[in-house]
Amino acid sequence: MAGKSGRTIEATPQDVWKKRIFSWEGMLVVLFLFINIFCRCLSPNYTVTNVLREMPKYLSEIFLLLPMAYILMLGEIDISVGSTVCLAATVACMATNAGVPFVGVIFITILTGTVCGMVNGFILLKFPELPSMIVTLGTQIVFRGIAEIMLGSGGSVSVTNTAGFRALSGEIGPFPYVFFLVLICGAVFVVLSIKTTFGRSLYAIGSNSRTSFYSGIKVGKIRFLVFTLMGTFAGLAALFLTSELYGANTTTGNGFEMDAIAMAVFGGISTAGGKGKMVGGLISAFIIVCLRIGLGQINMNPQVVLIILGALLICAVLIPNISASLGLKKKKVK
């Protein structure tokens, strides 16, 4: 039936719906519903109010997921974001303690993140042959190093005037502000990736950057943009993380980059680039967050939770491969 391109032009509306439900994203929605029902059955405390109250800490990681998904679509990777968050959070605390008004703190924090992102982007722009993994490994160490120097011997800083951060972590009803912001940003990222030339360039570069380059796509510029965007969102994440922790220390943001990558990969976004959908990453992020909250509430050992998440991730990567190989076999039989 399916042609080489995977399109079925003559498909009836029924087939389209079938395809949607059996697409990876469709599966994720089902899984999301299942996880929520599952957690609700396990823990009587798994209520909307409680989940939303526990969520803000995890939501700051979803900020990282959004541009990380773009980076993965490009076929690149950025492992410096955890350190960027650490540095931006440190700057946020120090700026607040230095008496900068809170609007200024917001600006400085996001600017710090953006500058970090630009550093990555600039290196990759000027030296396109360098692997992003190695460049960002370097900046990961550099950014955290700068943060550690700023933090000094104590290794931690806390905000003396928490008023601004308290306001930032406020809620409308049971919904924290950050929840709306994540949804809005998520929607923008989804639309950008599927509706704009920019989005199509992402997939094109991820599939084959050389061909894209010769087709007139400004590969370097887009890469620079996306890495800068990553930094900006790391700054945003740092801001909301600080509003939960009222401080920063040398371990702030540890491992965030891997969490963001895991969410994206679980959402069907291939690390090889050019594949996957933003919306999948977003749903999978909420699946992981809900699962963590639910299992936390039944006091499951957090190490076991990690094992479960790791196993899920491997399954997520394996299933498309297995089904692809099954599909190949079918074709051969035909």
Binding site: R20, N36, T47, S158, P302
Partner: protein, 387 residues
């Protein structure tokens, strides 16, 4: 168009999923659900366990509840440790759990996945959702838990710390393992005892700015001056090994060559005492050692005979720290104390059963565990594998 419809659909599905899946929003919020939860959690933890606790705990509890005047059976007590795989913390958790079970309460131990404030915040948030009655935390960061712990207190949960404290705003009180005066007194008595009441002695400390060590040294000096019993002891020098093994070794050797009549070295730092112990034992020196040390590092040097350099030393007993934390939690929950300085409560199962809350000097209050725990040849074997 197709993709647009798809994405709208998925967003809608996600939103409704949040609503539907998360359960009934009309249900009472976190702290309201306590009574329902008790049943659910009993199921989860297994019936036989509960039966054991109830029968085993009844006789202990009778003693405790008489004195404290309240009843904490069926209440939920949580302990958040620094991280999993920390043997010192695990011993604290052991003590905590024992006491809570003996009082008839339900105990939840949370070991965060990493030794970060970040990981502890998740655990605390989760405990608030579960509507526990009390949270006791060994803080990884003094200030970073404030937002989460304030949420907890706002939800009516009694918050205390053990082992290492949070700032004053995020706790009701703190089970302090290391009271400055108690440590000074214990070390001073050890020096007096080992030196035989007279002679020269020296201190090998960490860095010259180390807050804890300086406080303890000051305490020792003031005890020495205040009591004529110590008049024949002569403190010749306070040396600083900067908590580096090599520098501590060098400083020990310098002390030995400078003061041939030296009788005792007191090292109130785990790095210093280990370095000094090795020097003294390797040289079969007649100088003896005491101080604060880790049993695992010091096991080879502790002994009464001349072949060993350290007759005995001190550190805190993590099990007792956990037990005190549990008694504080219980007293906070049953209303015996509110965490204000001057209040007293009873810890029925402990050596020093009457505890008083004192001012901690940081704007908050604390409860001091008591004299540090003595490690000597008779018990070092049991402790060397613990921490």
């Amino acid at each position: 168009m197709r993709k647009k419809v798809l994405s709208v659909l998925l967003c809608a599905a996600m939103a409704t999923g949040m609503m539907a899946g998360c359960g009934d929003s009309s249900e009472p919020a976190s702290n309201g659900g306590t009574t329902d939860d008790a049943n659910a959690n009993n199921d989860a933890s297994g019936g036989s366990d509960d039966a054991d606790d109830a029968s085993g705990g009844s006789d202990d509890a009778s003693g405790g509840s008489d004195a404290s005047g309240g009843d904490v059976s069926g209440k939920k007590f949580a302990l958040v440790t620094k991280s999993a795989g920390n043997p010192y913390n695990e011993k604290e958790a052991e003590g905590f759990e024992d006491v809570i079970k003996s009082l008839g309460g339900e105990c939840i131990i949370k070991h965060p996945v990493a030794a970060t404030a970040d990981a502890q915040v998740s655990e605390i948030q989760s405990l608030i959702s579960q509507g526990v009655d009390s949270i006791c935390v060994a803080a990884n960061d003094e200030n970073a838990l404030q937002a989460a712990l304030e949420d907890a207190m706002a939800a009516g949960i009694k918050v205390s710390c053990l082992d290492s404290k949070t700032n004053a705003a995020s706790r009701m009180t703190f089970a302090n393992q290391a009271g400055t005066t108690e440590i000074g007194q214990a070390l001073m008595d050890a020096v007096y005892d080992i030196a035989g009441g007279e002679g020269e002695w020296a201190i090998l400390s960490a860095t010259s700015q180390a807050t804890n060590q300086n406080a303890w040294i000051e305490a020792m000096k003031s005890i020495m001056e205040s009591d004529s019993k110590y008049a024949n002891l002569n403190l010749v020098e306070v040396a600083y090994g900067d908590d580096e093994p090599q520098k501590s070794t060098d400083q020990t050797q310098a002390l030995l060559s400078k003061y041939p009549d030296l009788k005792v070295i007191c090292a109130p730092t785990t790095v210093g005492i280990a370095a000094a112990a090795k020097v003294l034992q390797d040289q079969s020196s007649s100088v003896k050692l005491t101080g604060l040390g880790l049993p695992s590092e010091m096991a080879a040097y502790i002994g009464d005979d001349d072949a060993h350099s350290c007759p005995y030393m001190f550190l805190w007993n993590p099990i007792d720290v956990g037990r005190l934390g549990a008694y504080i939690s219980a007293a906070l929950v049953d209303g015996t104390i509110t965490g204000a300085a001057g209040e007293t409560f009873t810890a029925a199962g402990m050596d020093n059963s009457e505890y008083t809350i004192v001012d901690a000097g940081d704007g908050g209050t604390e409860v001091i565990l008591g004299a540090p725990f003595k490690f000597d040849p008779s018990n070092i074997g049991d402790w060397k594998d613990v921490y």
